[in-house]
């Protein structure tokens, strides 16, 4: 049965991808990308990778769609028509694809327990993580403790992306005269948004601090929190949102998140262990692991939240500037 569901989902994924290539209306393409991400999330659920599915649904389908729509507001929704011939790129793509397909022939069978990936470090994680770290959700143990370097890299990538976008677009200026943006006409939307936003923030906090026990963590929490503020911005206007959460504050928060993460690592270093080793953070190694994981999840959540929101602010600020001119 899972194979059948997987097959259906993969064919829908393929159809969506073809739709993305064929359709020229970029607004529809962005919507299709959202559908693509949700389908990928379903495939991950089907493979029992709920953590990845949750991340894909919140980041891929949620925030990316909003950011791409923000880009469309700046660039326009029609795709440029190409006049040059595209035979060479097609050839390159076909050859690369064929090589990749040929490469998969050498791969071990899918889902076989004897595959190298299941024999390398996975047995050690499964056997020792309950004693070493003691979290019910093993994925968090791997993500935040065994593979903390990888997660640090990901957090820094998010931070760097925010810096890149901000240096290109710039944050919206606070002293500018407030414009009547937002959806003043939509009474229903405003009321429902007021109902939903606090609940969304509450859910983000739940996701943030429930990472030890469920398939959740800082990345998703940051994105969900950012989504709540983005909803507020869309409904009540950018000037109001920047009054609540100032762009300079966000810039500080994004850096603070990375600082907390690295600081946790350096604290371990100063207490006589390796970088990002949480054992000496408390008298009991397991308690130390708990403290370390909560701290770095907090760092990840802060950075992702602030980075996503400042990228959105940058797009929204640009779009409003374009609208005025």
């Amino acid at each position: 049965m899972p194979e059948l569901i997987g097959l259906v989902l993969f064919s829908m994924l393929g159809i969506t991808a073809i739709g993305v290539i064929v359709i020229k209306d970029l607004f529809a393409v962005v919507m299709l990308f959202g559908i693509y991400s949700f389908l990928s999330a379903l495939i991950f659920v089907n493979l029992d990778a709920v953590d990845v599915a949750f991340t894909e649904a919140s980041v891929g389908a949620g925030i990316s769609t909003v950011l791409m729509l923000g880009t469309l507001a700046l660039t326009g929704r029609k795709e440029k028509t190409h006049t040059h011939k595209s035979i060479l790129p097609l050839l390159v793509v076909v050859i690369t694809g064929a090589a990749l397909v040929y490469g998969t022939l050498d791969m071990p069978p899918f889902g076989d327990p004897n595959n190298p990936i299941h024999q390398h470090v996975a047995p050690r994680y499964i056997q020792d993580s309950p004693q070493e770290i003691g979290l019910p959700n093993m994925v968090t143990s791997v993500l935040a403790s065994y593979r903390a370097f990888d997660t640090l890299g990901e957090t820094v990538v998010v931070f760097a992306a925010a810096i890149g976008v901000l240096s290109l677009l710039g944050l919206p200026k606070r002293d500018r005269a407030a414009i009547n943006s937002g959806l003043k006409q939509h009474m229903v939307l405003r009321v429902v948004a007021k109902l939903i936003i606090p609940l969304t923030i509450l859910f983000a906090l739940y996701v943030q601090f429930h990472g030890d026990y469920g398939p959740v963590g800082g990345f998703q929490a940051g994105v969900i929190g950012a989504a709540a503020i983005i909803l507020y911005t869309l409904v009540f206007g950018l000037p109001n949102a920047t009054k609540v959460l100032q762009p300079t504050l966000l810039r500080g928060l994004a850096a603070l998140g990375v600082l907390i993460y690295c600081g946790t690592g350096v604290a371990g270093l100063l207490l006589g262990a390796n970088f990002l080793d949480y054992n000496p953070l408390a008298s009991d190694p397991v308690a130390g692991q708990h403290i370390g994981i909560i701290l770095i999840e907090l760092g990840v959540g802060l950075t992702v939240f602030a980075a996503m929101l400042s990228i959105f602010y940058a797009f929204a600020g640009q779009a409003e500037r374009t609208n005025i001119q």
Partner: protein
């Protein structure tokens, strides 16, 4: 056993309404009727499917979470449909009847088309 039967009926009805919503989305003639069809999927089908799923749980935390999802969907989906329709209206899109009424005097000859 009774619960399972009720749950199955709910799920099948929910699937039926999703399907009619999808068919309506493709078959209906203009934007507003299509939004109407889609919103049927969003509300009625969602209620029925989640109700069917709740009846299959042990009435524990999972049921509570499903109920919360249902409340969330019932808040957001009609709002989304409303916002869509209102924006279309605001943008000057006319309903099918209005379009026909406004084009009739001008193009009486084309009515046979």
């Amino acid at each position: 056993m009774i619960l399972e039967t009720i749950s199955a009926i709910c799920l099948i009805l929910g699937i039926f309404f999703s399907l009619t919503g999808a068919i309506g989305l493709f078959k209906f003639p203009d934007f507003f009727t299509r939004v109407h069809a889609a919103s049927v999927t969003d509300t009625l089908a969602a209620i029925l499917i989640i109700l069917g799923l709740i009846l299959r749980t042990e009435f524990d935390l999972v049921a509570a979470k499903l109920l919360l999802i249902l409340v969330f969907l019932l808040l957001t989906s009609p709002t989304a449909s409303h916002a869509l329709a209102k924006s279309a209206r605001h943008g000057g899109l006319l309903a099918l009847a209005e379009t026909q009424a406004s084009t009739k005097p001008a193009t009486t000859k084309k009515e046979n088309d």
